[in-house]
């Protein structure tokens, strides 16, 4: 499976809805921007993870729900959630 911008946003909304136990319609897309990340952890390495040190190109997706913002990052092969519950999460790869 590989992402494009739209499918990454869709998957991110789905993930956040599951985490917050909301309907996907309650999740807002605040912004989506193309982004250059410093390495292949997209700036959100999971615990104990090693990442290839190559500049990676993808998208930063900001979702809003219940007055809070949630920071997702994606490239062709992965989707990550940064800093949720004090941790970074790899949702799909």
């Amino acid at each position: 499976m590989s992402f494009d911008k739209d499918s990454a946003v869709k998957r991110a909304k789905q993930d956040l809805a599951e985490r917050l136990k909301l309907n996907e319609d309650d999740i807002k897309v605040d912004s989506v921007s193309s982004k250059e990340f410093s390495d292949m952890s997209l700036g959100a390495p999971a615990d104990g993870e090693m990442a290839a040190q190559m500049i990676a190109y993808g998208w930063q997706i900001s979702l809003g729900a219940g007055g809070k913002s949630y920071d997702y990052r994606a490239d062709k092969y992965q989707l990550r959630l940064k800093g949720y519950g004090g941790k970074n999460h790899v949702i799909v790869y």
């Binding site: 290839a52 040190q53 500049i55």
Partner: protein, 475 residues
């Protein structure tokens, strides 16, 4: 002097003159008994003044004439020549230090001569053994020197894009901001005897520009067997992600790194690797997304160590990955690789931070076999993304806008300390190709000493400079 002792002085003078004459005659008698060298035979055969020379390529004649400096003993010469897999054919006694040398590797005589010429602390000069002939007006004069000779550019169509190997200042670059590969290739272009492990996302071992340089497990090396993981028919390397034998790359990153190290050179295809010939061993532990676990890294290193112990000449691991996460287990695995004589080249990281203050691993492991690498752009400036460290980052290498092999027989440009790392691994492999018995400690020392000092890197990397392949190969 007075009248009484003048005859004493005259007598002493006569004795000295007589002694000199006798010694000179002895030398002439000795010369008459010794077989003529190739050069003297050829000169003797020539009639009249020669107007051109050609290189001697006869199997019966030595390829290179080398004059060693005063004080270099015959024992030293014999050892040095043997180390280069050459043979001393003759010592020309009339000319102190002049030696004719046979190259046993069938290398180009000019390249062999350049190798000796580069040994400036031991050698006065070296040049191919020219055959002197008449009537060939286009050959080179004997007096030509070779220190500045460079190999012509390889015929790989993307070589002009490989500024890291040869930077002529085009594309906004700074002329000379490169690893000086053309000069290095005058000495060696790598060897199929040297195995470089790429610890990464795997390698596309079917890529046309890599396929000839992929390591394949020799038949006399048993299949890999791990007590816990089982047995593997490891033809091309190892896949720790899936605990399987197939290290095919699904991301591209590992293939890119492999191309920098050892894409086949001068094959009218794609790029030239730093090593035109090498053996690339993929160790896959990063998955399709370009990330992986410490445990899988350790398992992959374990594989390399096992293969080394089974006789595979794995000398270098190229590791273009990392994080801020310290792992004692990973450190121990890398140390174990070092104890097996394997040099470990690691990317310094892409956070633009000071690794002296905020460590990045595995590059920050303070081990005798680890070299940490920062990235430069084509003007010799530290790349904006590159980590650095006056105490913890050893060298810098080109790492921005690097063209190399990619999936699906493609090529692409990429940036990162990921790209800088295989440049250092590639140069280490060239050193090993030339000096097969070099220890891992000496190899690290030689890599770190072989830099061009760059003012902007003072206080940023330990060596204060950019790696230079030609310097790495000069004695």
């Amino acid at each position: 002097m007075n009248r009484n002792n003048i005859w004493i002085h005259i007598g002493i003078a006569l004795i000295l003159v007589t002694l000199a004459a006798v010694l000179g005659q002895i030398d002439r008698w000795r010369a008459g008994l010794r077989p003529a060298t190739s050069e003297t035979r050829d000169i003797a055969r020539s009639a009249g003044k020669p107007n051109a020379v050609k290189r001697s390529r006869s199997d019966s004649e030595p390829e290179v004439l080398v004059r060693f400096k005063p004080g270099v003993s015959m024992t030293q010469i014999a050892k040095l020549v043997a180390r280069n897999n050459d043979r001393v054919e003759d010592n020309v006694e009339f000319v102190r230090g002049l030696t004719s040398i046979d190259d046993l590797d069938d290398a180009d005589p000019a390249a062999v001569a350049a190798q000796y010429t580069a040994m400036t602390d031991l050698v006065e000069y070296a040049h191919p053994n020219y055959r002197i002939e008449l009537g060939t007006p286009d050959a080179k004069p004997v007096e030509e020197r070779f220190e500045d000779d460079v190999t012509s550019s390889p015929n790989d169509p993307h070589f002009a894009d490989q500024w890291a190997l040869n930077n002529d200042g085009s594309g906004g670059g700074r002329k000379g901001a490169h690893i000086d590969a053309l000069k290095a290739w005058n000495i060696t272009k790598g060897s199929s005897e040297v195995v470089v492990a790429v610890l990464d996302t795997g390698v596309d071992y079917t890529h046309p520009d890599l396929i000839s340089n992929m390591w394949i497990r020799p038949e006399n090396v048993p299949q890999y067997s791990d007590g816990e993981l089982g047995a593997f028919n490891d033809r091309y390397g190892f896949n720790a992600v899936d605990n399987a034998a197939d290290p095919m790359d699904e991301n591209g990153h590992g293939t890119h790194c492999a191309g920098v190290i050892g894409a086949e050179g001068d094959n009218e295809l794609g790029i030239a690797g730093i090593n035109w010939k090498a053996r690339i061993m993929p160790l896959k532990f990063l998955g399709r997304g370009g990330f992986g676990t410490t445990k899988d890294a350790i398992e992959a290193i374990n594989y390399a160590v096992d293969r080394k112990q089974k006789g595979v000449n794995v000398r270098i691991i190229s590791a273009s990955w990392g994080s801020t996460q310290y792992s004692k287990a990973l450190e121990d695995a890398i140390r174990a690789a070092g104890e097996q004589g394997i040099l470990f080249i690691a990317a310094a990281g892409n956070s633009s931070t000071d690794n002296d203050r905020r460590p990045h691993y595995p590059s920050n492991y303070n081990l005798p076999n680890v070299i940490s690498v920062a990235a430069l752009d084509r003007t010799d400036a530290l790349a904006s993304f590159s980590n650095y460290g006056a105490k913890t980052v050893h060298v810098a290498a080109p790492g921005k806008e690097i063209v190399s092999t990619w999936l699906n027989e493609a090529y692409r440009e990429a940036s990162g300390t990921s790209m800088a790392t295989p440049h250092v691994a590639g140069i280490a492999a060239l050193i090993v190709a030339r000096d097969r018995s070099i220890t891992v400690e000496k190899l690290k020392e030689r890599v770190m000493a072989a830099v061009d000092k760059i003012e902007q890197l003072n206080g940023k990397v330990v060596s204060g400079g950019r790696i230079n392949a030609a310097k790495a190969l000069a004695n």
